[in-house]
Amino acid sequence: MIRFEHVFKRYPGSHEALSDLSLHIEAGEMSFLTGHSGAGKSTMLKLIALIERPTRGQVIVNGQNTARVSRRRIPAYRRRIGMVFQDHKLLHDRTVFDNVALPLMVAGIGHREAGRRVRAALDQVGLLGKEKQPPVQLSTGEQQRVGIARAVVSKPDILIADEPTGNLDPDLSLEIMQLFERFNEVGVTIVIASHDHRLVERLGARRLNLDHGRLDDTAGSAAAR
């Protein structure tokens, strides 16, 4: 589903964020990216979402070589990937419902169908009763769940999350991670970047530990295959 082949990424005037990274994440797999800050976790996710492009090497997502996705095709490409962010990136001038509906509006899905799907997604994250509220009236954990509902509402094949529990306390973090597990159980490929080693270990999913832009096999992770 996601394949990195000898990927290098160097930001202009900066260090090498990824250095000869090769790995393969299978379809339907749930994996965690761990490592210190600056190890290249976010860069990896950005390459998957085509927010950045590799300096060298190839990133193949869903059988598609990202190098061949032109700028104009990026929106269509991104619609097949759900993204969850540490700071949720919700729009505060709209209701929870409208936030979650945004990917469906973008994809041109009709109102009735969109309404049905939004309510289903909100139901999945347990926020069905709060669809008319603006996000600011929700707790941080709830806001993150809105973010997750928005990421899954268009039923993407891949869900990527960058430190989704970065701002949450341990209990809420576990709750959020369990939410991801449930989506994984229905076949969504999930990649989560997290620096919370203890939480990741507790969940027992595959762990990809990055160290200075390389895959660290010694960290006891079930690393590159």
Binding site: E52, A76, G108, I109
Partner: protein, 336 residues
């Protein structure tokens, strides 16, 4: 362990939802969905402008003033034309027939001239009429009574088409003057040249002003949209992240530009008609002093459509320039 217990029950829903993805996925008819999206933007952007009434009104007023200037110039030129009594009379040729010519001959000359391509219309003023009019207007009635016969010749007034070049008017005059039954042709081609030159300057001036102010409107709208884009940077970034195309993101800004332009056009009309309303009374009084029936004319329906449509088109254009340029520069991910 609580987690495991809950699982089967919660699990059902995602499976159900994912199933609906496959064959029977319901989508609205693409054309009506497309129109619906446009309608949503059409009304949505209007609603957004109404939620910020003060700033929207300021922007629209500036556009309105810019559009009102060429519209007002147009009104001034049109009314000036009416005051002068039409540009056409300026180029008229006065053809004085030979003293010996009869009224029938005058009709014949007029008929010949009216048939020409370079003559728009002719009017015959018979000698008797002319004398009667002169007697009435000049105040020399008694002196004229003393005349044994009419000293005035028959007169044919020849009006060439308004766009006829001064050289051709001159040629026309020379040709008419060569006729045996014509005594003198009076024309003022120099004045015609000057007048047409002046008219040309005024017309070009109006066009130039309209052009400059149109560019001004594009810049005003463009700048407003640029600020709007800056203010909604987060929203644009998020939209790009979830796969919104440039066209999708640009659409509401284009409609905002449209509303700004249309609103500006409406303000321009209010300004012009308001100005006309204020001036109508005094103008009529002055006209009455000159014994004239003159009334200020406003913008006709065609001009109203041009002001509104032109404003909307310029707003759209300004927004198109700004959004195409600035939306490209917003790329998500620097703070992911």
């Amino acid at each position: 362990m609580a987690r495991r217990r809950k699982k089967p029950e919660r699990n059902r829903r995602p499976a159900e939802i994912r199933r609906s993805k496959s064959p029977g996925e319901k989508r609205r008819n693409p054309v009506s969905a497309y129109l619906l999206r446009h309608l949503q933007n059409f009304l949505g952007t209007l609603g957004r402008l109404c939620r910020h009434p003060v700033s929207s009104f300021l922007t629209i007023s500036v556009i309105g003033i810019a559009l009102a200037l060429p519209a007002a110039l147009h009104v001034i030129v049109e009314n000036g034309r009416a005051v002068v009594g039409g540009w056409e009379s300026v180029a008229d040729l006065s053809v004085y027939l030979d003293k010996k010519a009869t009224a029938d001959q005058a009709d014949e000359v007029a008929g010949d001239l009216a048939a020409r391509d370079d003559v728009l219309s002719v009017e015959v003023i018979y000698a008797d009429e002319a004398l009667a009019q002169f007697r009435e207007l000049s105040g020399f009635g008694d002196a004229i009574e003393g005349l044994s016969d009419n000293p005035l010749p028959h007169l044919v007034i020849v009006r060439p088409p308004p766009d006829l070049a001064p050289e051709r008017i001159e040629a026309l005059g020379t040709e008419i003057g060569a006729r045996p039954d014509v005594d003198v042709v009076q024309m003022d081609t120099e004045w015609v040249s000057r007048f047409q030159g002046l008219l040309d300057i005024v017309r070009r001036g109006v066009t130039l002003a309209a052009l400059v102010l149109a560019i001004g409107v594009i810049i005003i709208v463009g700048n407003t949209i640029r600020l709007d884009i800056e203010n909604r940077r987060d929203e644009i970034e998020v939209s790009k992240l979830i796969g919104a195309s440039d066209v999708f993101i640009r659409r509401p800004f284009l409609y905002s530009g449209f509303w700004y332009g249309l609103g500006g056009g409406a303000i321009a009309l209010v300004l012009v008609f308001g100005g006309l309303w204020l001036l109508a009374g005094p103008v009529q009084r002055v006209a009455a002093l000159y014994g004239s029936e003159f009334r200020l004319s406003g913008l006709d329906s065609r001009a109203v459509v041009v002001v509104l449509g032109g404003g909307a088109a310029l707003g759209w254009l300004g927004s198109w320039f700004a959004s195409t340029r600035h939306l490209r520069q917003i790329e998500p991910g620097h703070d992911l």
